[in-house]
Assembly symmetry: C2
Homo-oligomer: 182 residues x 2
């Protein structure tokens, strides 16, 4: 295999923010020429595929400023500094939906946009929800909780109400692994 | 349904780059308080799930500077200004793998990171590859082409060689829709 590594020649921090930082790096390409890479640093995130006793998926409806529209997503949130992803998943599930869970398991992780960002999403699955209480969202976070069947979710994918990577992955995962649940 | 819209109060452009721009916006939240949103603008992208006669998925091995590692992805690339996503899909397939195709169809689209970016990936499927020629990648793009079976792809997901949203989605899509092909 050809060595594809790009070595950093110089690195400039453009922005340091609440959620993301932005860097521009000059890199030495495999052919020894110099290229430019724009890199968004993100703390990483979790998402939870949480299924009710009735086999419905918990989702949250949320306005997403970058898209200037409201979409429906599985509960998710960014990692706090040093936070274990599994603990973060339980926290986000509780904060966004009011639910706790008895058991929760990892179903993988993926980078969202490896071309320009290092955001890694850790995905979890639970079907043992307990103790429905109140939402406890962050002060700048406003979400409506929904319970969606797989068939409804597939329909919402078609009409682009469900329209983001972690949620479409979650719907396919459910279809593949839990299609017998309705 | 509660109105979740966030109205822009002020908007500052932090960076204008080759691939992304960065804005910071002050928004009026649903409770009338002021919040801050960091927003990466991206032109959008395409990805192609391209399946050979033998039922193998075309993938490209590529160093991703934001991750500081090489991962294996389905062929993809960003939209040129005004470019039709379907034409872009055919172009990227040709440039990255050397293949053309007789037929190509849309299998949906998703936002990669709706919390901080507006990147939308359009996904296409083809199993009618023709005319294998030479790669014609961009001057700062270096990729190795691979042909991966579904079983190999699932194994590579486990050991995190396949580790990005569009590609794990593609593998699940194949498993769900074309599992009879080996």
């Amino acid at each position: 295999m050809e060595n594809l590594t790009e070595k950093t020649v110089s690195k400039e921090q453009i922005y340091s923010g609440k959620i993301i930082d932005l860097y521009v790096e000059e890199v030495e390409l495999p052919n020894k020429k110099i290229g430019k890479r724009e890199i968004v640093k993100h703390p990483g995130a979790v998402a939870v595929l949480a299924v009710t006793e009735e086999g419905k998926i918990l989702m949250v409806e949320q306005f997403r400023k970058p898209l200037e529209k409201t979409i429906v997503e599985i509960p998710a949130g960014k990692l706090e500094k040093g936070e274990d992803p599994l603990e973060c998943a339980k926290r986000e599930l509780l904060e966004e939906t009011g639910y706790s869970c008895k058991k929760i398991e990892s179903i993988g992780s993926f980078y969202t946009s490896p071309g320009f960002a290092d955001e890694l999403i850790h995905l979890y699955f639970t079907d043992s929800l307990i103790n429905k209480g109140e939402q406890m969202t962050d002060e700048d976070e406003f979400v409506n909780v929904l319970e969606i069947s797989i068939d409804e979710a597939k329909e919402m994918m078609k009409n682009q109400q469900i329209h983001d990577a972690k949620t479409v992955y979650g719907v396919l995962y459910m279809e593949l692994n839990h299609a017998n649940r309705k």
